[in-house]
Symmetry: C2
Amino acid sequence: MNRESALVWIAGKWRQSTSTEYFHSENPALGEPLPESYPISDWEEVHECIQAGAAAAEILETTPGEQIAAFFEAYAREIEASSDGLVQCANAETGLPITPRLREVELPRTTDQLRQAAKVVRDETWRRPVHDEARNIHSIFAPLGGPIVVMGPNNFPFAFNSIAGGDFAAALVAHNPVIAKANPAHAGTTKLFAEAADRALRKAGLPSATIQLIYDLSKDDGLKLVSHPLTAATGFTGSRMGGMKLKAAADAAGKLIYLEMSSVNPVILLPGVLGERGAALAEEFFVSCTMAAGQFCTNPGFLIVPAIPDGDAFIQVAAQRFASATPGVLLTRSGVNAAKDGVQLLQKYGATVLCGGEPVAGSGFRFQNTVLTITGDRFLQHPKELQTEVFGPVALIVTSADASQTRSILQCIEGSLTGTIYSGDSSADTQAYTQIEPVLRRRVGRLVSNRMPTGVAVSPAMNHGGPFPATAHPGFTSVGLPFSAQRFAALHCYDNVAKANLPPSLRNF
Amino acid sequence: MNRESALVWIAGKWRQSTSTEYFHSENPALGEPLPESYPISDWEEVHECIQAGAAAAEILETTPGEQIAAFFEAYAREIEASSDGLVQCANAETGLPITPRLREVELPRTTDQLRQAAKVVRDETWRRPVHDEARNIHSIFAPLGGPIVVMGPNNFPFAFNSIAGGDFAAALVAHNPVIAKANPAHAGTTKLFAEAADRALRKAGLPSATIQLIYDLSKDDGLKLVSHPLTAATGFTGSRMGGMKLKAAADAAGKLIYLEMSSVNPVILLPGVLGERGAALAEEFFVSCTMAAGQFCTNPGFLIVPAIPDGDAFIQVAAQRFASATPGVLLTRSGVNAAKDGVQLLQKYGATVLCGGEPVAGSGFRFQNTVLTITGDRFLQHPKELQTEVFGPVALIVTSADASQTRSILQCIEGSLTGTIYSGDSSADTQAYTQIEPVLRRRVGRLVSNRMPTGVAVSPAMNHGGPFPATAHPGFTSVGLPFSAQRFAALHCYDNVAKANLPPSLRNF
């Protein structure tokens, strides 16, 4: 056993894992393993997490919201105090730049989310009490009664981290304990968060198993974890293939599971707006699609551009811009292979590579900035394959004959987190918008107008969700409190119950 | 082909089914087939429903709420005008008494629900708009974008009917079309509702495929229906076995499905209250458990009674009361067999029959009013089997040594719609309540105090839902608008969209 390996955090204690299997994170900019090793927890250890989490759940049900709010605030301060270490570690593990991304954008976003969580756990807006005084029936949202498993994605080491991000905060806002499964691509960052969370938990006096951390587990144990009788729910952000396996296991056991999976985020450029400012749009598109090497859930990976000279010019300018820029670092080695496979699949079904399309030679994990095109007619021959999400700086541009064909294309598109229409001032664009919007609207969670979909505001009005397979339930968002917390809440009705026996939040009527 | 068979209602037209398979409803009071026959629709016909429903969904998205409200109100009036036929038909198909049950209780409840639906579709409280004016981000709940399949249960021919009940109303409140699959045990009643709905649809000028009706379909076609790409969601109320098969199919396709399945509805009697009014409680329990021959989702089928003399006396009085009453009519022939199987299963695992336990000889579908008992110790040896729901006038009484054993028993209980505690004025009961309530609370949707769980008020504060397997999502209710409608709604966010392009319900900020 590697005695230098990271400790797991179970039932309030940091301790050597009982596992004999370990993994190393890699530095994606260098393509080299990082020194620390992390255990792949065995089932015994995972099961211990579940049991300790279930015991903590019972305590948290009646823990005053104020105490959880105090934790969130202490945690935000602990994170800020640890920010140097966090950004260094996340940079080494993800290749994301320290500035502005990690230090100036993602870390403040993360602490802001935690402070918004403090506000909501304090004001209890997630509880939505309803009173029927005449009949003495009262209802309110309450915790689910068991631990929530959070499995965060690789692309936001802070803001969607299993132990600091949106799902984590949402679960705890609804007074549920969290079992965090680190994303193995940033295990060290997650450990630093856990250490900060531990200090904040102690300050707030919450149960020691309110938050637990394992770094990884076998696929089979993952299925057992999300379907275990004592597990209340799971929040997963990641690949469609992995998500669907977890979903099948959870569903069969009647367990809640929220998934954010696959999204091509269609962007439609109408003719008028291209005439007005095509070159500027090409730049905007390039920036959005290659930001963080295209590894955003809301990356604009699928454009529909009119088959007109202004559209051709847009494509040409965009492709030049993609080709001339230095490719960013991908998060993982497997991401490079997946991007290559994805591009080849699109090519196989008729798409033409205008630029890029290959891994970048060298030691880091990089893939060329890539633009592919295909005509609307050819797209419509293989719509299923040609909407495959390629996670990276890769976009497919479909040239569309007219608004009617754009509608036909969109009618083949599965659910996405976002859908975007750029329209100009012409009456032709106005008319096309009206034709296209309804078809797009019902396929996406967030409809964006005249700007790129990347950049998810942390706002109560946000929907970071959408129809399957973007998520598994189009009625919920994973960003935007208080609503994101309702995913992890049960509706509790009290019928003919004496006022003294109602929970405190229901007594004021 | 039987030319006398009922017509299906597809895409706005009443027409002969293309199917060659038919079924007859039975009169359960007489045990004889009813004259009408009903088609078991083939896939071609079902598929046509889905397509027509999808087209209607697009229209309903922008249909003014006022128009849907007018439909609900016209429909309620049409139902009232057809009430004689409805109660006669439902009585013949279900054996439920015309008075008071069908005419004075369930029919007014049904029209009241529809009028509440009119109110909510008009006031739009289900839409829950959220505005972030500073960022110009707005969100609102919207229809799901496809037809909702409603499969109602056999036990409420009116109030939970596929084409008149709670799921039907909830789906349409959220501007979704409905494909109703009749419960075959009351196909004729459902047809009468459909005819009334047709007249109301025409008056309101809604799309002709807003509501469609088939009477039955094969099990395989049922799986295809709930998982079809154009189907938006399903609301199912019925058996756990049937529900779980539909759930697996829907889940794998990423389709929403809401299920109300299995619920034993534990009732705990504390020692003090038994001393205060044990005999009155025995009567209350008898009435609730044998009402409608015990065929309520919230039937109190599982009692926990203290192993004390007052508890023994309660059991004795209750058993005498059960034994002396004439058994009611069960809804179906298969229900009699299922009750017999259920009682035998409970006996196999150690329960003792105090009274009843057998089908009643004769032509109608009747099962004896049945009370079984078992000690807490023996229950805890086979808790899984001994919490099997027996749908009918059947209750298992577990005698518990003390509050601690009651907690242990409840900890083995799966999710239920309701959980009830009867407690008296003694401090001992108050203390026991405090010990027991949290364990019960997290296992049920509605916690009831000092009255029986039957009788589900149609109130915004109601929760007719609960943890699995009572339903598949503890955060939703199927009774109580506006919340019941949110099951059938998608969250739509508008980001940077011009005010003129926002939906009307979002423009007033």
